[in-house]
């Protein structure tokens, strides 16, 4: 029966690999060409995702994990109802960016510190809350949903995606499990 379990695991890894491959293909395409967002809108959303969950301390952030690919795919499909919210929110962000820095092309062109200042102005809006939720989902949902490229989101949490672990699992159970 152990052999059966190994077979099941092998099979799952194949499925995961296939899903990951499909998602990489999709992500690669989406970076070049988004379906719901215009390239300029995609730049703004990408910048937002990287301020919501930035790459810090050498770990990837939401942009590196491809949250944008998830967001765009969702807006093109099951989350289409939120397209107006995104369109208006992005336009508002660009207006605020231009009000803050004369001559700025838009939110994406600001320095990160300036972007944060603009975000603080809109933190409580439904638009920001939606982008925050979608950034989190796009970073941590399975790669088959379009984001979380190569499980980068899970890596940043310290989560190794394995079908099999053995005790000890963490610091505090090391002694107890060594005794057994």
């Amino acid at each position: 029966m152990a052999a059966g379990a190994v077979w099941a695991a092998a099979d799952l890894f194949e499925i995961e690999e296939a899903l990951a491959f499909a998602s990489q293909q999709t992500s690669a395409n989406l970076t070049a060409q988004t379906r719901a967002l215009t390239p300029a809108q995609a730049d703004v959303v990408s910048a937002l995702t990287s301020r919501i969950l930035p790459a810090v301390d050498g770990r990837p952030g939401a942009r590196e994990a491809g949250a944008l690919a998830f967001i765009d795919r969702a807006l093109a499909t099951f989350n289409a109802a939120q397209r107006p919210l995104y369109t208006e929110g992005i336009a508002d962000l660009n207006r605020r960016a231009q009000a803050k820095v004369t001559g700025a092309a838009g939110f994406a062109a600001l320095a990160s510190g300036q972007q944060d200042e603009v975000i603080r102005e809109i933190e409580a809006t439904p638009f920001f809350q939606a982008v925050r939720l979608d950034t989190i989902v796009g970073t941590f949902a399975l790669p088959s949903w379009g984001g979380n490229r190569d499980y980068m989101g899970w890596h940043l949490l310290g989560l190794e995606h394995q079908m099999t672990f053995q005790a000890p699992f963490g610091y505090y159970d090391a002694d107890a499990n060594r005794r057994n």
Partner: protein, 552 residues
């Protein structure tokens, strides 16, 4: 050993089988196995699809946010109102597994017996005014052999604790390896003079009856086990039933009504097949195991001239006394990594507060276990303390640092049975099949919330005593989301105040039986699955016996 695979039985809907069972979860799977191994022909109708281990995934977004493998609010909407005075609004309040195997297929694996005291609490306490708290028509001693049967036939890991009720056999398997959360709960509990013990889990700690030991992948809660290490109806009971050659599991079959003949006996059920064509499965007897929300809905949707209040509802209590169990969580961060994302949800618990203590000033009790209860998305959304950053560098750093260092103390408590807490039919809303949707009316009794806060207080003390760096919890509020659906066709000796008798036969229809969470008279201490399983083994045995003696 695992049953030999044999072609499963196939029946035509026009065949009069011995039993049609509605639902394939904890109770339906066990009763299907009991009746088919006793020599009866059985058709199990399951509204959800049949999935194999190869189709399971670890898709948190799909499961939690897109409704994969659970009741679908788009096609099966339901409505909710806190009290009968309000108009119910469309809202997803009840969540159950919608696949062959039912909610039992995705359950966490907690497997607690009730104690002798659970069965006669009302008479011992003198009742609780304004509630429907009554004694069970069964004693613990009568159910004990079936608790044992459930533990041995399904496969349970555990070891005796200091407050355990008497048991006729030890646990079939030793406990699973302790996790860091379990060690910390033990540390905190002992410092406070409490009595931590290994959690009893319906998950294999070693190879058992041909199924492998847990591989510790970490996706038990609301996910199905790819390794078949979780001891469920899906992994254990349904294969045995099918191997008899007398049981057909028919998936994608959404039951609309129980049909009754002119003599007042059930003749079978009507259901929609995968193509939404109406079918009629004829049977000598009908067993409803559709869960504590769908079973009463089905009875109410089966109203007829002869049974105007709904089938088996001469008492008027079908759908009433709905109980959710309270769940309250205290979160804690520690200095070193726990890596709670690995392995089973919980490995240690405290049952010191199980019993109702009148000195506390309220009814209720429960257990506290050590768990994680989060996956990556849920952790990012609600895993940090309320004062933590919600975006920016601070957010990213805190997520990275705290994901491996966070655990929860899960408080599982009682719900009092209230007549006003109920499943009824929504007066206007129809589902995608044109059937009346369920309407849930629910407000926790004040004692339920006091008990949740009481358990939460002890959990907070334990977290501090274990050395947590930060401890926090949301306020205790009335529950508006439920996965335990209990009490809506309660068992009792009096046909005027209960729906089924002590053998799960409906008082009103001789060949209609009900066994699932709806049979429960009280709520248990927050972990009802072993009791539902024991009731199902007992019901299956008695129903098979009635059939043999021509008493159906």
């Amino acid at each position: 050993m695992a049953p030999q695979s044999r072609p499963s039985a196939r029946f035509r809907p026009s065949d009069v089988v011995d039993f049609v069972i509605v639902g394939s979860g904890a109770a339906g799977g066990i009763i299907a196995k009991e009746l088919s191994t006793a020599g009866h022909t059985v058709v199990v109708l399951e509204q959800g699809p049949r999935l194999s281990e190869r189709q399971f995934d670890h898709d948190e977004f799909g499961t939690f946010m897109r409704g994969h493998n659970i009741n679908d609010p788009a096609t099966q909407p339901h409505t909710f109102r806190p009290t009968p005075q309000e108009t119910a609004q469309r809202r997803q309040v009840l969540v159950y597994g919608r696949l062959v195997g039912g909610s039992n297929a995705h359950f966490t694996g907690n497997f607690w017996r009730m104690r002798p005291s659970d069965f006669n609490e009302a008479s011992r306490l003198g009742g609780v005014p304004g509630t429907g708290l009554v004694d069970w028509p069964l004693t613990y001693e009568e159910l004990e052999p079936y608790y044992t049967k459930a533990e041995w036939e399904l496969g349970v890991s555990g070891e005796p604790g200091p407050f355990d009720p008497p048991r006729s056999r030890p646990y079939p398997m030793p406990p699973l390896p302790v996790k860091s959360s379990g060690v910390l709960l033990e540390r905190g509990a002992r410092a406070l003079g409490l009595h931590p013990q290994p959690s009893q889990m319906a998950i294999n700690s070693r190879t058992y009856n041909g199924r492998p030991a847990c591989q510790h992948c970490g996706f038990c809660l609301i996910f199905m086990c790819e390794f078949r290490a979780k001891s469920t109806s899906m992994a254990v009971m349904l294969p045995i039933a099918e191997a008899t050659g007398r049981c057909e599991i028919r998936s994608d079959s959404y039951v609309a009504q129980v049909e009754v003949g002119r003599d007042g006996r059930a003749t079978g059920v009507t259901y929609f097949d995968a193509q939404k064509r109406m079918q009629r499965q004829r049977a000598k007897a009908v067993v409803l195991c559709a869960n504590g929300s769908e079973t009463p809905r089905l009875l109410l949707n089966s109203a007829s001239g002869r049974f105007p209040q709904g089938l088996a509802n001469s008492s008027g209590v079908v759908g009433k006394y709905l109980m959710f169990n309270t769940y309250f969580e205290v979160s804690a961060q520690f200095e070193q990594p726990l890596n709670e994302y690995k392995s089973i949800q919980n490995t240690r618990m405290v049952l010191d507060f199980y019993e109702t203590d009148p000195k506390r000033g309220f009814y209720g009790g429960g257990g506290i276990d050590a768990r994680f209860g989060k996956y990556p998305i849920t952790f990012a959304l609600e895993g940090l303390p309320r004062n933590a950053p919600t975006w920016g560098e601070g957010f990213a750093r805190e997520l990275s640092r705290q994901f491996p260092r966070t655990m929860a103390f899960g408080c599982h408590g009682t719900s009092l049975p209230l007549e006003t807490n109920s499943i009824t039919l929504d007066p206007t809303l129809k589902d995608a099949w044109g059937l009346s949707c369920m309407r849930t009316t629910y407000t926790d009794h004040p004692d339920d919330l006091k008990n949740a806060a009481f358990l939460g207080g002890h959990a907070t003390d334990m977290a501090h005593a274990a050395g947590a760096l930060a401890v926090w919890a949301a306020p205790v509020v009335a529950q508006t989301l439920a996965v335990h659906l209990l009490g809506t066709c309660r068992m009792g000796n009096n046909p005027r105040t209960s729906v089924v008798d002590r053998y799960h036969r409906t008082h009103d229809v001789r060949n209609l039986f009900i066994c699932d969470g709806s049979s429960m008279v009280t709520s248990s201490r927050g972990q009802p699955t072993e009791t539902i399983s024991a009731l199902a083994f007992r019901a299956g045995e008695h129903i098979a016996d009635f059939a043999k003696r021509g008493q159906i």
